[in-house]
Structures are given as structure tokens and as C-alpha cells.
Point group: C2
């Protein structure tokens, strides 16, 4: 029975009814031309093949009811395929709206710890003929970036390929690298790095905080580090267990055009969209703080060397000023770009180990948030997490069905009631906004405001 | 903020991912003749009216994340109607089978403690034109019998009535009596009675066991009471959180005919069906114990006075020998009838208080089952709980839609991996079998075996 490292079990320990610790993805597909009504039914049957399931997807906590955390992984020989792969349908009128409502509910329920920690819903019959696949996987098993990678690997660039298999039926190419060990940048990988550092130092999750503060301070060679601090807002409150999910695609060309003529980056423009959207949303809720809000943005360390692909195993994070106190969109974009440049310049002066330690330090308050009362009593380290996870740049197909949407469904945490994660796809950026259903009413209005913010930027920079 | 008595909070305390503590009901309806495609959509809108929600359905634990149990109820002014009332659909081919698969999954997820503890799924479009309503309510809010009562009150015997409202929009007729205070017989009411007795004696749930043993012993006037003991079977194991639900209706006439010619009762024949079904099921699984299995059967105390209606507030339980060691169906029926008669005779010699205490004593091992290791280390007090909850005896309608099925979806507990609850309805007995998805494979085969057992009895007594 393989030992479960604290870096895995911390996600099981930290989980409660209020914090499901799974990551999800919502994929939209167009049926292949000429596909009969049985296409999705057959796909479902392929999905439910219970032979040759990848061991990663047969792994479960050996002692699911342990009060002090699980310590071992067990691997089941077989899986209950009908449980893991669900055939779902949408109520009339079967629009994307009904799909998002269903996804909100699916994402808010806990995974069963008595079996491998994943579920998949094959959703038949949007009114426009498309179908959808929603998958959720526990963060103790795999992180968001690795999940996207597993999913990419299951698709093909060839529309006529008919041998596509879902991630759990895919052979593992490198048996030594479990999904969670592959590279990428995701906010919780960072918390994981903090825990890993601490665990290897004091061998104890309880020792997490002082050890990593010390290590970080030593690494950066300074003793007067301060923790980041952002204004308290309605987004920085303890969360409940229910979720609301909103998702929409934007043409990547629109965003690139603004970035080019304003001499900023694509990520700067995305952050300016988020800034404008959150500003409008908080104004509507009479809750805009006077001080500017900030975003935590995970970055790949390969950014330093200018490489476009996130190939490395190391991950860092920067905190960017969103300039939500400015009412002009262009001004916000300029301040965001300046803030991001400065944060990256700091990273550029550090060694990879220093970056990791520096980033871990910024994440510390997040690691502390499960402590009762912590979220209410302190300022948040930042107001929102905005992740950009690289997706496929070419058109992708699953047995002839064209991928037409790839929306990440991430994690809301105590103190972080909204998470915005986006994935790139041929021609599009797919935004997924997950929020605590109780703290963040009318979450879908953020989509509207994202479009308004982009349109405002286009008036100046389009 | 009203105080939450230990008799309510114990259901919140005892709950875990492995033991969701909610009760459910699955109703099937026929559309009224000439109803348009908008019928269910309009019904959904009625259901989602958020004005005048009964306070019982606005009640939630004031401190949902308290580690040592909730102590206060809070009452919300409004509810998130789209969260509580869900519009759901079935995948093709939209048979009852797909409905039961969906119900299995809905029943296995925990209710959100940050809001009133209930959910309802309005399920549109079975292939045959019927629609369904699945409702789940936390046992801390209401017990199974009261839930059936609330549901009955929402229906009408008049097919042309158009003013039917769902239970949560129904006025409370007696404001002093919350749902959980109304009468009936359900297994967990009994556990509740145990706790209530103990709580009023020592004011402490921890003191539950010794206090009630003492009270029960004193009430019955004997010190040599022994706890009931049944053989260990595959049904008496710790359970996981996922469920499987099976349901089917039987014509009440068939069962009555067997009861009449065999000079037994309807409940005896039901138990003989259960006995035959469990026997066949365990034989298939190579797991039939040599010793006969037993069933715990909650009974209304009004049985003593021969009254047919369960009007009282008091509830008792008997343990009946299922004679699963006998291979002839008629022999099993005779032994079951004899065992039930004897158990009821004992109850008949006792005062109501004594019955309550006696019944509570038999339930004790159930109250102990949340203690880690308890279920594995001890013999079960009985092998299965079989409840018969009285339903409406006339045809009932909801705004013209005829009720065509009323299946209780009960609770699986550690040590009780199956629960069989049935409801009577005009002309039918509707059986609902809930089981732990992990411990009880192919649960739906029990339906087949129930029919086989009844058919066998009919050959002799039909």
C-alpha cells in the first residue's frame, strides 16, 4: 500500500463540506457531421469500459474515515464504472444556461472517499446539438494543470481519429510520474510546495508555518519580509459548500489586439477585464473598497527565460495590483501592466529556489485559512486568484467530435469566494468563474462585466 | 434564535460523509389529460415561489461548521429557490431505470448545512409521459413519517383541484407542532426517543446509553435483559457514502389475498417477501448465514388497540425472525407470523411507557453504531429494518396530476447496509430499497426476488 505523502493528504485533511477540494473541467463538443443519435450513447459506453483503467484513477484513500487524515493510498482492481461515469441530461430548454446550473450543483457535492476520487458526467443533448462532459477529480489525486494535460492527451488533432480514450483509460506514458508530479502552474500546487518544504523539514503539517517562513526568509536573505495584504471585500469571507459556476468564451484575437496596441501582454488585458468586471460587480453590490484590489496570479518559472510553454516543474506566483480604485479602463490596464512588470522583475532577480520560497511566502495566509476565525480576523493576502492554464492551440477532436469549449471549474476557499481560471483553446480564451453560492449572488453578471470591460478597452486600443 | 434540542442535533452530529442523515421520497405522477408541454414547467415555477415559505423549510443550523454539534436553529427570511428546487432531466431512454439511477446519486450527497436542510428535484419527461418529484429532507428537521404526512397534505383527492401547493409552501396547520413532533413510526424516531429520554435525564448525549439501559430495565422491572443479537451478514457492515436505490410497486390485492388465505397479516406477507428476497440475494452472493436473519419492524402503539391509523405520538419496534434458514416460502411465512404475534403479545402486556423503553432498548446497538469499530466487532441487533409507512388510501392528485408511485428513500446506517421502507397507496404497496452502493452490489435484484417470493406464496395461498 503506497504511503500518501502529506502533500497529498493535506488536501483530504483541509477538505470539509464547505471546501470541496476537487478541480473540474467542463468540455463542450460538437457532434461529428453525420453522427447518428447513438453517438453519445456509444461514447458513454466507451467511457464506461472498466478494463485497463489507469492506476491513477483506481487510487483511493485506504482509510476513508480516519479522523486525523489518510496515510495510505489503496488501489482498487476494478471500478464501479456506472458510478464514476454518469449519463446526465439537461432540462428544457437545454441551453448552456441549464448546463451551467447543473455544473454548479455537481461541483458543490463531495467526492466519495470510499472509491477513487473522480466523477465524470456525460451530458447529452444541448438544444443546439452539442454535448458536454463535466469531470471532477480530487486535488489530492491531481492538480488542475495536470488534469488539463491528461484531458489534452485524450484528444486528437485529427478529426478522423477514432481511437481516442478518456483520461482514465489512457496508458500512463511515464509510470514513475503520477499526474500530480507533472509540471504547470496552479495556485494550489503552491500551497502544496509550501507543505512539501515544511514536511521535508519538520515532517509535520502542524509545523508548516514557522518552518516555511524561516526558509523563505533565509532564501531571500532578508528578515523584514512582510505578508501581502489586500482590502477586505465581500469576496474575502468564509465560504459555504454550495457553488455557482459561470463560463464564457472570448475570441483570443480581440484580447491580443488590445494587448498589441497598448503594448501590454495578453495576461495584462485578461487582468484588466477581471479588474473592470469585479469593479462593476462590487459597485452593483455596493461593496467596492476604496483601496485597490489585488489578484494572485500563478506564473510558470519558464516566463523568466521567455519560453512560452510551461514545461518546468517549478511554479511561482505574483500579486498584481488590479487598480480597481480607478474608474477609467485604460488607466487600470496601464497600472496593471506596470504592477505585473515590477512583480516579474523581482522574480527575475531571484534564483528558482528563491522564487519558490518567495511565492510560498505570499501563499502563507491561504495555508492558514482553514484555522477557525482566521478569515474573519485578518486582511486577505489578495482578493482573487486568476489563473491562466495553457490549453491546446490547435483544433482538437474526440473521436471526431470537435472541442468547442474547455472551461476550468476551480476551487473556492475560505477567504477566496471567487476563483477565475481560464484556458486557451484554438482561437479562444475560455473563462470559468466559480463562486461560493452564498457569498457571491448573481455570479453570472461577472460575465457581462468581463465583456463590458473588454469592449471599453477596445474603444481605446482596439 | 431557537435552541436546537439534542434530539435534533444528534442527527447532525451523527452525520458524516458515510451517513447522510436525510430521508427522501420519490413520487411519480401522470400528467393530467390534455396537459400541454408547459405543465411541468409551470409546476416548477409554482414550486419555486419564494413567498410564504413554511418556517420549517427556512430553518437551518445557526452554526453550520461547529465541531461539537449545532446548538441553535436560525430561520432564514428568504430561500434560494433555484437551489432548493431543481429542474432535472433523465438521459435517454428515460425509463424508470434512469430515474432510479439518478435518485441513487441524489440521495448519496450531503445537504448543505449553510441553508435550510432540504432539496427537491422536479424530473421532467419519462418516456411514457409521466414526471417525477424527488425530495430529500434532513432527519434533524423532520422524520420519514412526518415527511410523508407533509407530502400527503400537499395532495388532493379532487382531480380538478388546482390550488395544490408543495409541502414547503403549505401553511402549518398547528403552529405549535413542528413536523418532527407529529406521530408515526419510523426507525429513527426511536433512536430519537432514546436520546430524548437520555437527554432529559442527564442532559447529555454522551450519557445516552447507560441512562436508557437503566430506564428501560426499571420500566420493564427486570435486570436480566439481554440485547438482541442476529447473525453477521454482508448487510451488517460499515457503510460508504454512495447509495443505490431500487423501487417497485406491488398490487395490494395480491398481498392481501395471500394474507387472508394463510390467516396471517399483510405485514407478515410483506416480511415473508423480504425474507425470501434476502435469502435469494444472499445465496447469489454466497453469503447466506446458517442462523435465521431477523428484521426490526417499527410498529405504531395504536396496534395494541387495534386501530388501523397511526394516530398516536408513540412508537415501538419489534424484532421478527425472518426464518431465512428455511427453504420453503410457506414455512417462512408461518414462522414469521408466529414470531410477529409473539413479539406483539409482549408489547400487549406492557404499558405504553414500558413499550417505549423496551423498544428503545432494542434500538440501543443502533445508537452505538457511530462508535468507531463497533459495527465490525459486534453482532448486529437485527439484520435489516423493514418499515411500512401508511400512505394515502385514495387516489391522490397534485393540480390534476395523478400520483402513480410514492417510494420512500430511507437511510442506510453503519451495520445496516440495506433499508426497506414501503408506503401504501390506493391499490398498491410501493417498496423503496436503499442500500450502500459499495456493500450491496446489484441491489435491484432484490426487486426480482421480492416478486419471486410473492409468486411462490401465491402458489400455495393465492
Amino acid at each position: 500500500m503506497p504511503f500518501m505523502p502529506p502533500t497529498d493528504s493535506m488536501f483530504l485533511l483541509a477538505e470539509s463540506r464547505e471546501h470541496p477540494m476537487h478541480v473540474g473541467g467542463l468540455q463542450l463538443f460538437e457532434r461529428p457531421e453525420g453522427a447518428g443519435p447513438e453517438f453519445v450513447r456509444e461514447l458513454l459506453e466507451t467511457f464506461r469500459t472498466s478494463e485497463n483503467v489507469n492506476p491513477l484513477f483506481r487510487k483511493r484513500p485506504a482509510d476513508p474515515v480516519a479522523a486525523v487524515g489518510s496515510t495510505w493510498w489503496a488501489t482498487d482492481d476494478t471500478i464501479d464504472a456506472e458510478y464514476h461515469v454518469r449519463h446526465s441530461a439537461l432540462p428544457e430548454p437545454r441551453r448552456v444556461r441549464e448546463l451551467l446550473a447543473a455544473t454548479s450543483l455537481w461541483h458543490g457535492s463531495l467526492l466519495d472517499r470510499h472509491r477513487p476520487l473522480w466523477e465524470c458526467h456525460v451530458v447529452d443533448g444541448l438544444q443546439d446539438g452539442r454535448f458536454a462532459v463535466y469531470t471532477k477529480v480530487h486535488h489530492a489525486m491531481v492538480d488542475g494543470v495536470s488534469a488539463v494535460r491528461l484531458m489534452r492527451r485524450s484528444l486528437s488533432t485529427d478529426p478522423s481519429a477514432t481511437d481516442c480514450l478518456p483520461p482514465w483509460l489512457h496508458e500512463r506514458r511515464r509510470p514513475s510520474a503520477e499526474g500530480e508530479e507533472s509540471g504547470g502552474f496552479a495556485p494550489l500546487r503552491l500551497a502544496r510546495s509550501v507543505a512539501r518544504t515544511a514536511a521535508s523539514t519538520v515532517g509535520d503539517v502542524a509545523g508548516l508555518v514557522p518552518a516555511s517562513v524561516r526558509i523563505a526568509a533565509e532564501a531571500i536573505g532578508s528578515n523584514d519580509l512582510t505578508l501581502p495584504r489586500a482590502p477586505k471585500t465581500m469576496l474575502n469571507v468564509p465560504v459555504g459548500g454550495a457553488r455557482r459556476f459561470a463560463a464564457q468564451s472570448w475570441e483570443i484575437e480581440r484580447i491580443k489586439r488590445v494587448a498589441k496596441s497598448s503594448a501590454t501582454t495578453l495576461n495584462d488585458v485578461v487582468l484588466a477585464m477581471v479588474s473592470g468586471a469585479l469593479r462593476d460587480y462590487l459597485i452593483e453590490n455596493n461593496a467596492l473598497p476604496r483601496q485597490s484590489m489585488t489578484a494572485m496570479v500563478p506564473v510558470s518559472l519558464s516566463l523568466r527565460s521567455g519560453s512560452a510553454d510551461a514545461g518546468g516543474n517549478q511554479v511561482g506566483a505574483i500579486i498584481v495590483n488590479l487598480a480597481t480604485d480607478k474608474d477609467d479602463g485604460s488607466t487600470r490596464l496601464e497600472e496593471i501592466a506596470a504592477s505585473a512588470r515590477q512583480a516579474k522583475r523581482i522574480l527575475g532577480d531571484l534564483s528558482p529556489t528563491q522564487i519558490l520560497a518567495f511565492s510560498a511566502l505570499q501563499m502563507l495566509p491561504l495555508a492558514l485559512s482553514p484555522i477557525p476565525g482566521f478569515v474573519n480576523a485578518t486582511h486577505p493576502p489578495f482578493n482573487v486568484i486568476v489563473s491562466n492554464v495553457p490549453g491546446p492551440s490547435e483544433e482538437m477532436y474526440f473521436n471526431g467530435a470537435r472541442l468547442d469549449g474547455l472551461y476550468p471549474v476551480s476551487i473556492a476557499l475560505d477567504g477566496q469566494a471567487i476563483n477565475i481560471t481560464l484556458t486557451s483553446r484554438a482561437g479562444y480564451l475560455d473563462f470559468g468563474v466559480i463562486g461560493c453560492r452564498r457569498s457571491v449572488p448573481h455570479l453570472q453578471r461577472i460575465l457581462l462585466h468581463l465583456e463590458t470591460a473588454l469592449a471599453e478597452l477596445e474603444q481605446t486600443w482596439g
